[in-house]
């Protein structure tokens, strides 16, 4: 063992240790050396301070430049976004005759050789001898003479055009995923599933009517609260056809009369529809509910078209609450989900998306619903974690 003194005592001994004096010549030599070095160091103090200030200013300027660069970059990025959207929206490719482009800041004539970008909200009108062609991300739109068409919106999920009157021909690329293309008219909405077709809006008895003619693929037409699929070679019109005498017993509102394809293929469809019609005739209550479903759906669609998303969501919700098993339920749920999304109510949009997926796992909007449901959940988690 090697016993040691109390540590406190040892520390005190260090404190009390006698410091021996040094030889005078050594002390003087050290003084001379250190004082000389100190003098040099002290002389450098203002210089070093200036250097520090200079470095600080340099760093401050660099920081300001970096900040400006960052802010500028963000601004460019933010500013660049509409450009990217505009590239994704539409650009005029060819013009014949007169084409008038109407924008919020005024109207102007687009001359031949010009290729202006079409932004959401822009409206183009062709004269009686005019034609135009414009390209969106997914479709080629040919505008016939005497036509007025508006680019309603272009979002990652949807390209939407509104045909006020005249005729447009569309060739839409067939894709598994990506934005869908919708052409809306005063009384119908045509949803494209990858096809080539024309839509014409004219006026019969003073009311606008829509005609759809499909060359390739299939489009779905939403009219009067019903959905019909129009395939290649078929035509569809919103004109109410006179009900054949043989079927006069069936209530007119039961059958979406304007949705019958008029080609040879339509006879097969009529045959398929016949039993359903009979069943409806046997069930007057069901027939009555269909009329109301149609009315409620139309009211909701009109609210949506007017941009009244909250009212649209409520009307679609009322329809779903009253007729949960309606044939229109799928479309109503999708529209309700979209209305909530547009309103920024992510939680309710996600809830509606989940309901949609639960009931229509293979529905046409399943991908969109999945994204909405996931987006809502992600945002909800982010909010919770904050």
């Amino acid at each position: 063992m090697n016993p040691l003194k109390d540590p406190e005592l040892l520390l005190r001994e260090i404190a009390e240790e006698r410091v021996p004096p040094e030889p005078a010549e050594r002390v003087e030599a050290r003084r001379q050396r250190v004082v000389e070095a100190l003098g040099r160091s002290i002389r450098q103090v203002p210089l070093q301070r200036e250097r520090r200030v200079y470095r600080f200013r340099l760093l401050a300027v660099a920081a300001v430049l970096c900040t400006l660069g960052l802010v500028g970059g963000l601004a460019l990025h933010e500013g660049g976004a509409p450009t990217a959207r505009s590239e994704g929206s539409a650009s005029v490719r060819a013009v014949e005759g007169t084409l008038v482009l109407e924008r919020a800041d005024g109207a102007r004539v687009v001359t031949k050789g010009e290729h202006p970008e079409l932004l959401p909200g822009d409206e183009v009108s062709t004269s009686g001898d005019g034609r135009a062609e414009f390209r969106t991300e997914r479709s080629l739109v040919q505008v016939a003479p005497a036509t007025r068409v508006r680019v309603v919106s272009v979002s990652p999920d949807e390209e939407r055009l509104r045909l006020n009157f005249g005729r447009v021909g569309l060739e839409v690329e067939r894709r598994e995923q990506g934005r869908r293309v919708v052409v809306e008219t005063a009384d119908a909405e045509i949803v494209v599933h990858g096809t080539a077709f024309t839509v014409t809006v004219d006026s019969q008895s003073g009311a606008p009517t829509t005609h759809v003619r499909v060359r390739e693929g299939v489009v779905s037409v939403l009219h009067a609260g019903n959905q019909a699929f129009v395939r290649a070679g078929e035509e569809w019109s919103s004109v109410v056809k006179p009900v054949p005498a043989a079927r006069s017993e069936a209530p007119a509102e039961v059958e979406p009369v304007a949705q019958e394809p008029s080609s040879a293929a339509s006879s097969r469809k009529k045959a398929r529809m016949a039993p359903r019609r009979a069943a409806t005739a046997d069930n007057p209550h069901a027939a009555g509910s269909l009329a109301e479903e149609n009315r409620m759906f139309l009211a909701a669609v009109e609210a949506r078209n007017r941009g009244q998303d909250r009212a649209a969501a409520e009307l679609f919700g009322a329809l779903l609450a009253k007729f949960p098993a309606s044939k229109l339920a799928e479309e109503a749920r999708v529209e309700r989900m979209r209305a909530f999304t547009r309103l920024g109510d992510d939680a309710r949009a996600a809830a509606e998306a989940r309901r949609y997926l639960a009931r229509h796992s293979n529905g046409f909007a399943r991908e969109e619903a999945r994204m909405t449901a996931l987006g809502g959940a992600a945002r909800s988690n982010a909010a919770t974690s904050k």
Partner: protein, 196 residues
């Protein structure tokens, strides 16, 4: 005689004429502090003194010295810091403190027996060795408080910590030092050259 404030302002102005005055004001405390850290004046003692003064000028010019304590106290703090850093670097190089303690005859008082004094020096060198092996902030706090006799409030100002933190460092540092000394005292003594 210029006050501390006047000396500091002269340094910050770059007035090199006060170098001698500053040296004379602080050399005593710097020399004594370095002596207590090492237990002797090492061969590079003058270099260390110069390093301490250079460091003092740097801290004064950068306004790191908060003027909350006297210039001498500040100089002692810097000297202990420089001294312990030097000891640590030497320890890393395995050149000092692990070797057999050497006796500086100049330290030996005339009326004290040489053997007893050598034994005392060995014990004190053990304390220094353990201080160097400890966490720097704890070792410096123990040294400033228990060896140089500074108040905790003063140490807190010098080390730019709260008084509570300085107190904690002191308590922990002492505990660690005593633990190290206890462990060593329980260890069998080393045999020189492997023979008894």
């Amino acid at each position: 005689m210029p006050t501390d404030e006047e000396l500091i302002e002269a340094v910050q102005r770059g007035d090199h004429r006060i170098a001698g005055l500053l040296y004379d004001r602080l050399i005593g405390v710097v020399d004594h502090t370095l002596f207590r850290v090492f237990g002797r004046r090492e061969v590079d003692h003058d270099d260390l003194v110069q390093s301490v003064f250079e460091q003092i000028i740097v801290t004064l010019s950068r306004r790191s010295y908060a003027r909350a304590c006297s210039l001498k106290t500040w100089a002692a703090s810097i000297a202990s810091h420089v001294g312990f850093n030097s000891l640590r670097s030497r320890k890393r190089e395995r050149r000092v403190l692990d070797r057999d303690a050497t006796i500086d005859n100049a330290v030996v008082p005339a009326r004290v027996d040489t053997e007893g004094l050598a034994s005392a020096r060995v014990e004190l060198d053990r304390v220094r060795k353990h201080l160097v092996g400890m966490r720097p902030e704890q070792a410096q706090t123990v040294f400033l408080h228990d060896v140089l006799g500074h108040e905790l409030a003063e140490i807190a100002l010098m080390m730019r910590v709260s008084v509570a933190a300085a107190q904690s460092r002191l308590v922990r540092g002492r505990r660690e030092l005593y633990r190290r000394l206890d462990v060593e005292s329980a260890r069998p003594p080393r045999r020189k050259g492997g023979t008894s």
